[in-house]
Symmetry: C2
Subunit: 499 residues, 2 copies
């Protein structure tokens, strides 16, 4: 027993060391995206390389293996047990790929991103095709190294959504797709059309910032444990649980980018700011999966800040910051305008309803590639067919089609489903929360604290102590269920579009 | 030979690794002083602790010792030879202090800073005295571990100004003190009195910033390799030679803090931005000493930006940014006002003439303590006596006297002389530069590039490839000579005060 205690201490010291590297690497990433002068980038990149290799060495070290073997299922400390499991997972996944192969992969990856950029600009898929083929092959090989039970794609899903399987996704996505395309047909057929052009109008950057800061404070984002900066691509980044930063982007003619974008990142940040301090400086002190993380950002962005209750309380405040822009726009027209549904080519510009359809297209293609049922060369055509099938529109070129996202160029397969999962999780949490809290009334009164507290109590505090599907079942007392998203969207759009 | 080459490669890899840690620790320090949210500080401090220990381990590792032994005077590469010497120096100084003793010292240090703060606020030296006594004892012990030839204080000077000795300082400071106090008597007796109250007036922060940015660009500060932020205590910090940041502080009623402060930090930054790229990622890629560094900041602050030529060219620009503030102030009155001489209690607020006298007081006390000729308990009285002797004024309390600086609380003995040395170095460089360039005419025309290039050619590019006194002798073809500073000040104040 005494021995276990001393091994635990050594293990914790190693976790702290790894976490120190993680924190400074993260600081470096924040600085690279927000503050670094252009000529400083080159050497900084080499610095990140040196430190990342250090982390990799520690995570796959002989010492780490010894601690895992000595502590797994032997420690009585629940946090240490979970940390051991997480470290074992990392150890296995990292050590199963032969080093030479991984280095080759990293080289292909970095080349691919540059080539993808060129291919996208030129709308020429053939430039990207050979690289994408290599990346697909590498991912297939890695998936086989890592192993899987039913479907090779499960091994990739596991990287982003532990426990998620192709079987589950096929089922929920199929139901969801039918419901969404059905709803979309009705909306398209409706004669009621919200007019989003009323949202366009001059809104000074500093005023947009002041408004978003007020909303972030309403949400409970702690500015003593975070800060807001400006970047081209907004993001949330966690230095430590008391230093959770977000960024946003301002368009002075269209406030939606900054306002909804900041609330989205603020949702991610609330998750990270409210993890239990007991997990600090361990690999457990972060969101449990991409999907659960996205559920938090989407909860705040869509379920809170695109709701009628929210604008009932905040529309005057918004108008006070942009006195001329919305003078003649009624609250009702404003609410309908920010919820306009309109099939579009670009995923990141999609509305609440069509977004998940964009994701399903990517999911089906990734699954097809990994299972050898599709070939890279056929992707542009398959993409366009699915766009027409699900959204009723066909991209004019591959730039607005198969080449639009960076993910595949970075070798990230299995990532996309988390976006749609996050949306379904959020709806399912929302449904459960409404049983316990009068959510709309709280939002309408501006008292968002009980909502944040509910999310912290049921989700945030656990960090990686629970797996994503474990959280879903613990909180909602049922399995993943896409009905709640469908129900939410149906109610919402029935009202807006008079269906 | 083949063997030497491969050891050189391994040695360089180790230097790169150490430098990667240095760069991220430095980024962390920048972030701690400029951007970090308050609650993030605690964990960040632990992170810095972990990484600093790592650097210490690498610098004193067995491997490092092996490389030093294998390469010293055996490598044919001059840069590697210098890097080996620098690493040996660090190795020796770090490894000579027993670890337990050093840890105790660090603890006393960190307590002392807090106690000093309290003592200063309460103007109560007795609170600080026992801590200062311990710090003096530690420094004496360390000096003995490190060794010295003539005077124990030399071992401490070496940390900040390698090659500098008590013997040299006694000689130059004695001459300088006589000259400065003589000049000060004449100024005090003069009926001509510049009126610095004309400098006080509203000058919006954003305009001060715009003006200082223009001046920094004139100086040749490269904003693609740096950035300017706002802090309470301005500083220059080097992430890498292409990321050299500065900070400043704005007082909207008195532009001097921001303008002269930024130019000062800009002078430090020019040094760091213009070190030879060949030295990148080695311990040689920084200024060679505190004193030479200060010579660069003071050169720009005093010899350039407090000159008549500079304001002849820039006064209209300044006025364009502060249209009402200096409307009725002539260029001549402005120039005299920014060069007012007035004995004052606080070192960092001192003018060009009295500054060095403040330094000499500290030097004499430090030397006396280290040589056992003075005792800590007598410092307040000794301080005040020297203030009266050199500056003719006596601090009302110890807050404006012996307790004003943080240096001793941090255990930094041997640091102060570098400030005055920097001033003498700057005057000596200025004298030499004037033989080769028409300095005043260049400044008057706003063409500062040849001045920056001269400094780069003779000083900046070498980084730590040359020791401070080596640079002085190579550039000016003589030893350190305080006459040039005296000559410069005499000319300047004879003009301003009609002596």
């Amino acid at each position: 027993m005494e021995n276990i205690k001393s091994i635990e201490k050594e293990f914790i010291d190693l976790l702290h060391e790894i976490d120190a590297y993680r924190e400074v690497i993260t600081l470096t990433q924040w600085d690279l995206r927000t503050k670094i002068p252009p000529k400083g980038v080159e050497q900084r990149s080499e610095v990140v390389g040196v430190l990342s290799e250090k982390v990799h060495q520690l995570e796959t070290s002989e010492k780490m293996k010894q601690y895992i073997d000595a502590l797994k299922n032997k420690t009585e400390d629940k946090i240490i047990q979970k940390a051991v499991e997480t470290c074992e997972e990392t150890y296995n996944r990292s050590s199963k790929i032969p080093i030479a192969e991984f280095k080759e992969y990293v080289m292909v990856q970095s080349k691919s991103e540059a080539i993808w950029q060129e291919a996208r600009e030129k709308a020429d898929f053939s430039l990207f095709q050979p690289y994408l083929e290599k990346l697909v092959d590498f991912n297939k090989k890695f998936a086989n190294y890592w192993g899987y039970k039913d479907n090779i794609y499960d091994a990739l899903l596991h990287n982003f959504e532990p426990g998620m399987t192709t079987k589950i996704l096929d089922e929920v996505f199929s139901k969801l797709r039918q419901a969404l395309t059905g709803l979309l047909s009705k909306i398209n057929a409706s004669t009621t059309k919200p007019d989003s052009s009323v949202l366009i109008g001059h809104f000074p950057k500093s005023n947009q910032e002041a408004f978003t800061v007020e909303v972030l404070k309403q949400m409970g984002y702690d500015f003593e444990s975070g800060r807001l900066d400006e970047t081209i691509h907004p993001f949330e980044i966690t230095l430590n649980m008391n230093d959770v930063r977000i960024t946003t982007r301002y368009d002075e003619e269209d406030f939606r980018m900054a306002v909804f974008g900041t609330i989205h990142e603020g949702g991610h940040a609330l998750y990270e700011q409210n993890i239990s301090p007991k997990l600090a400086r361990t690999p457990l002190a972060t969101g449990t999966s991409m999907g659960i993380h996205e559920s938090q950002s989407l909860f705040w962005e869509n379920f809170v800040s695109r709701s009628k209750a929210f604008w009932g309380n905040n529309y005057d405040l918004l108008k006070s910051y942009a006195p001329d822009a919305f003078e003649h726009v009624t609250l009702e027209d404003f609410y309908c305008a920010i919820n306009e549904v309109k099939p579009s080519f670009i995923r990141i510009e999609a509305d609440e309803l069509t977004y998940a359809l964009h994701i399903m297209i990517r999911y089906e293609l990734e699954k097809g590639l990994m299972n050898g049922e599709m070939e890279v060369k056929d992707l542009p055509q398959l993409w366009n067919e699915k766009m027409e099938d699900y959204l009723g529109i066909k991209p004019p070129t591959d730039k607005e089609g198969v080449l639009q996202d960076i993910h595949w160029a970075g070798g990230d397969f299995g990532y996309f489903p988390s976006y749609a999962l996050g949306y379904m999780y959020a709806a399912q949490f929302h449904h459960t929360m409404k049983k316990e809290l009068n959510v709309d009334q709280l939002i309408a009164s501006g008292d968002l604290a009980p909502i944040k507290e509910w999310l912290t109590k049921h989700i945030h505090q656990y960090g990686k102590m629970k797996k994503p599907l474990e959280i879903i079942e613990d909180v909602t007392e049922e399995k993943l269920n896409s009905d709640y998203l469908v129900q939410y969207l149906t109610e919402k759009y029935t009202d807006i579009y008079g269906l």
